[in-house]
């Protein structure tokens, strides 16, 4: 009876989870999605506690209370730190899966007839996925947080891919041996855990900067799949369904990210970026035209169609509030101001949207790359704020460029372009940006926040006067 009640509430929880994701299709209904998710989680937890035989209440309550103590502050991080927080929570998800798999294996060792082949396959999949997600996500979080002892730039060495794949291969072979004879080769189990932990670190070390959105999405997918594997181990359908929802979501996001960079999965994971190409930069020196903020403000005054292209530089400089002021002033003078969002701008999928929403810019003004490119020739002024590779026309024209084929925002097609940048240093891909040398492009050098602040000052002065 209790078993049926539990199973039935799991079905309800699954339906609620599906609705939760369904409501995310529109910002208007999205908050229902959160409530559906919370309801589903509550149903799941309450019905699981009904399970007969649960005795260790003190352990459970301590763990839950600690979860709240750590979880609440983690939800209050500044929005620029959201990528790190996301990576950290993937790490927690992977850790939970890995630990449950480990515990279940040692538990079943006492009654070896329970260690069926199917269960062993599921356990091995669970611990490999779980522990590699754990260390991989910790590394990703460290890189994003810019912790000192974790290298920011991609770390590469000779034979890297062979070593990485070799490690994974050894873990899989060990896993197969263990699946075939789970009782005799118990010593292999900790070795697999160690290999998975190492593989996670090595997988993320060669990845940096602009590839982070893809990696985070991929780790999201792994965290989901490790929950699925846990479902197979524990014979629990709710774990399988919820894990599969997470896994497919991560998969779709990774595919979108890869497409937005015109690269394949294998290329992101195994082809470290930014080392070979760096040599090319600086081969010839050209000078870009410079403009003062005063002059730029005068031009903006006449503009009726303005597009702002934000990039990671905007997040670093925390320029979104200044951009909001600029948006208000331009709107007041009757200009149509839109924001062109490249899918990989920032350090995680949708990063720019959240930052601009934080600055209270209406979401109707945030336009996808594909939808805004056709309007570009009619745009009077494009302002590029801390974006680089995503507006580089070389991706369209220069076959030798490493980013050739990557879809870009056509900032060069607008009537005029202002690029706000600290210096002429090349971006993540280590290549020069053709846009900066284009005829209609003018550079505004300086910190994004300060430069836009000056633009705002000049504009408001002339509007007042």
């Amino acid at each position: 009876m209790i078993y049926s009640i539990i199973q039935f509430s799991y079905i309800i929880a699954t339906a609620l989870f599906i609705f939760s994701l369904h409501w995310m299709k529109d910002p208007k209904t999205a908050r229902h999605g959160v409530f559906a998710g919370i309801a589903a989680m509550t149903v799941a937890i309450v019905s699981t506690i009904l399970e007969p035989g649960i005795v260790n209440w003190e352990w459970i309550s301590v763990a839950i209370v600690l979860g709240f103590i750590v979880g609440v502050p983690l939800s209050k991080v500044p929005l620029t730190a959201v990528p790190q927080r996301t990576a950290l929570s993937h790490a927690f998800g992977g850790l939970a899966a890995g630990l449950v798999g480990t515990a279940k294996y040692y538990l079943w060792l006492e009654t070896p007839q329970d260690l069926t082949i199917f269960r062993m396959i599921a356990i091995i999949a669970e611990i490999i996925l779980g522990f590699l997600t754990f260390t991989g996500s910790l590394m990703a979080a460290g890189k994003l947080q810019e912790i000192k002892w974790i290298p920011q730039r991609p770390v590469t060495y000779r034979g890297q891919n062979i070593i990485n794949l070799g490690l994974l291969g050894i873990a899989v072979i060990g896993g197969i041996a263990l699946i075939l004879n789970p009782v005799e080769y118990t010593f292999i189990f900790p070795i697999i855990i160690a290999l998975a932990l190492m593989f996670g670190v090595l997988l993320v070390i060669p990845i940096g900067g602009a590839d982070m959105p893809t990696v985070i999405s991929l780790l999201n997918s792994y965290a989901g799949l490790s929950a699925v594997a846990m479902g197979f181990v524990l014979d629990n359908k709710l774990l399988v369904t919820a894990g599969a929802l997470d896994g497919s979501s991560g998969l779709i996001l990774s595919i979108i990210m890869c497409k937005a960079m015109n690269r394949s999965f294998t290329n992101v994971l195994f082809g470290a970026f930014g080392q070979v190409q760096a040599v090319k930069a600086g081969a010839e020196t050209r000078t870009a035209k410079q403009e003062t903020s005063e002059g730029a403000a005068q031009i903006l005054e006449q503009a009726s169609k303005v597009v702002i292209v934000p990039g990671y530089g905007m997040a670093v400089a925390q320029a979104q509030y200044r951009i909001r002021e600029l948006y208000d002033l331009l709107t007041k003078q009757g200009a149509d101001v839109k924001f062109a969002i490249h899918p990989v701008a920032g350090r995680m999928p949708g990063h720019m949207n959240v930052l601009l929403a934080e600055a209270k810019i209406p979401y109707e003004q945030l336009i996808e790359m594909d939808d805004i490119n056709s309007d570009m020739p009619q745009v009077d002024v494009v302002i590029v704020v801390g974006a680089n590779d995503v507006v580089n026309p070389a991706a369209r024209s220069d076959k030798t460029s490493p980013i050739y084929g990557m879809p870009i925002i056509d900032a060069d097609k607008a009537r005029m372009c202002f690029a706000i940048k600290r210096s002429m240093n090349p971006g993540f891909a280590g290549i020069e940006n053709e846009l900066y040398f284009a005829e209609r492009t003018f550079m505004l050098f300086g910190d994004a926040k300060a430069v836009i602040g000056e633009l705002v000052k000049h504009l408001s002065a002339s509007q007042a006067g």
Binding site: A15, I18, V100
Partner: protein, 134 residues
Amino acid sequence: MNFRKFLFSNQNKFLILFTFLFFISDIAFAESEGTHSEPDYIGLLFVFMLATFIGLGVVTRVSRLLHTPLMSLTNAISAIAVVGSLILTGLDHPDYITILGAIALFASMTNIVSGFLITDRMLKMFKSKESKKS
């Protein structure tokens, strides 16, 4: 590519179909399960397959504006590992198992709490033009 187009143009129908199949199969498998010793592998794989298709269908339609909140929401959802950790921690097992379970429970609980809270916090920021005036 054609398959994708086919999938996209018929998204709604597929979604309803899969959801329906999914519930039928889930209830059917829940009924057929008498003994706990031998898990129903095929049933689990079936559920996994259907849930993945539903997930792909639902997530492709999520607004691109909301990809960051989507990720933190799915973070919280995949913390459903809390169910497994609860059972592991709760049942009468040797101490080291209970401790492993409690750590897993702590990790999942953290994800649930911070995942839902931060998703809601971000979603509250997405304002349209109309809602701003009011």
